[in-house]
Amino acid sequence: MIKFLFKGVIRDRGRSVLPIIVVSIGAMFTVILHCWINGIMVESLTMNANFNNGHVKINTRAYAKEASQMPIDLAIIGVNKLTKELKLSNPDFDWVHRTRFGALIDFPDSIGETRAQGPVTGWAIDLFSSGSNEADRFNISEALVSGKIPAKSSEALLSIDLAQKFNIKPGEEFTLFGTSMDGSMVFRNFSVSGIVRFGSSAIDRGAIIIDISDAQLALQMEDAASEILGFFNTGKYNDEIANNIAASFNKKYASSMDEFAPEMITFKQQEGMADLLNISETMSSIFIFVFVFAMSVVLWNAGLLGSLRRFNEFGVRLALGEGKNHIYKTIIFEGVFVGLIGTMIGTAIGLLFSYILQEKGLDISGMMKNSTLMMPAVARASITPSAIYIGFIPGVLSMVLGSALAGIRIYKRKTASLFKELEV
């Protein structure tokens, strides 16, 4: 019987082609969107780890509470020793310290008057020591639009939006005005060694990047930094290990009441991260739901047309003694079959497009202009194993739903007038 139905579906193009096309398209879009959302997510998370949080992050308790204000007066003191200890106890991690600070930069004209001035976020990272991975983490060589990476003290990278706004070229000098760790006004001269574009509006809008040693000098933060970050040497975040390390680190300070005691959080524990992780799943689910709904309506109607065309066939089958339930079941079965074929085709095409999107990416920086989220400007798809089966959910479900709705007609058939409607 099953073979008999297969033959019918395959031979009767009118029965299978339209539904297969509809299912394919739906499955294709599901796969592409899934990969794409996933890709944006993975890239956002990677950027977030690299730029913001590391895989684990240490702040003082006081700093952590007000981190968004970048309060360098609450920075960790004694970072060299702490970092050394961490390197010893957790060699699987790359431990670095960074300082983030708010400041004002001022470009003078030829006679020393202010030509341009604006607030910036300063990122002080380890650019100079040999073996530092920080420049790679920030992907600076890719991000450089012009100029080069700072090679010596008092050199800085300037973000693209600022450089364009002020019309700054590499080589120009500026003065950084800031607040020292103990609250006094400080300033220091820098020269622009290069212009960078990270592709994330949140950074590109207004940032400078300098070496951590320069920041310690400029802001009078001897042996201090606002944060210590740990990165898995494997490059891959492992929540279980991160949790263990954070727990054992925090245990050491558990009894301390000191506001300035260090405190470690994992990548996942950072504020809003759990939500962010849920977003991709939620978005995929929403798309799937929408596709199931829209495709079901289309397939329902296709099914109605189909059963109109097959009026005679169902009549004969009823006359030959096939039960209505049985016919209904075969309609659903055909639906599953067609749904599977369509999904396979759609998934294959979807994976192909996703692959292209994975390699090429799509520029979405226009949409992200005002975003403070750390999002990549070029959205790339990322193919995961789930992309192979995700299309089957809307593909098969909508086809079954569509067939089930259309098939209900069979129960309205009067056996007494099986062919009447056709014998005009």
């Binding site: 019918g8 004969v316 089958r317 009823l318 209505k324 056709l422």
Partner: protein
């Protein structure tokens, strides 16, 4: 004919709702049909032939009275039981052949046996035999669209006969056929009636068919006007 009665109908009426009123399509029908009969319901269009055939075939139910087919009262059968009765015991032949266009001749004939869950070996033997009865063993792989009208109707006969039903109901089987083919298919059915003792009941107003019938039940306005057995001896 003292054969046991396969079909017995008593005081049967059939009403159809038409608009607000009712239309009486069959009036007080009393009829008994025995095993092996080659019977025809004849009469003008609208006289109730198809309606009566449908009730005998468990596709419809009487409004009043009873119709017993193979010992089962049609009005009391559930949908499933009616389907089962049709599947096992009743073959249908229609005016418009109603073959399934996507399937081959073999598959069309095979379908009824698939419903009965027969094995492939059983099906193959039965299908080939049925196609042999109607002389179409060389067309097993053809699609209905590749066949003539006469051939289509012969496939339909094979499809009705393949499960060796006790009763075959043929509603205007010759209406779409030319004279030669009409004779051919009725002769085929007559032969099967003789060889297999299958009871055939026709609904027809085709003279060519009538001349083969052993019994002619004339309907007019839903009533039996005449019911007579034909003595072929004098014709032959």
């Amino acid at each position: 004919m003292e054969n046991r009665s396969l079909i017995s109908i008593s005081n049967l009426s059939k009403r159809f709702k038409v608009g607000n009123g009712e239309f009486l399509a069959l009036k007080n029908i009393n009829l008994s049909i025995a095993e092996g009969e080659f019977t025809g319901l004849v009469g003008p269009s609208g006289s109730g032939k198809t309606t009566l055939l449908n009730i005998i075939g468990s596709l419809d139910i009487p409004s009043d009275g009873t119709a017993e087919v193979l010992g089962k009262s049609i009005s009391t059968l559930s949908h499933k039981q009616a389907a089962m009765l049709r599947n096992l015991n009743i073959g249908f032949i229609f005016q418009t052949y109603n073959l399934l266009p996507v399937y081959t001749v073999f598959e069309n004939v095979e379908f009824a046996l698939l419903l009965q869950k027969k094995t492939f070996a059983e099906r193959k033997i039965a299908v080939m035999e049925a196609l042999d009865w109607v002389g179409l063993t060389d067309k097993v792989k053809s699609k209905p669209s590749q066949l003539s009208g006469g051939e289509c109707q012969r496939v339909a006969i094979a499809r009705a006969m393949v499960k060796r039903p006790q009763i075959v109901l043929a509603d205007e089987p010759s209406a779409n056929l030319d004279a030669k083919n009409s004779h051919h298919i009725v002769q085929t059915m007559k032969r099967l009636n003789k060889e297999l003792k299958t009871t055939f009941i026709f609904a027809t107003h085709d003279e060519k068919v009538m001349q083969y019938l052993d019994r002619i039940i004339s309907l007019k306005d839903g009533e039996i006007e005449k019911d007579e057995f034909v003595n072929h001896a004098k014709n032959e």
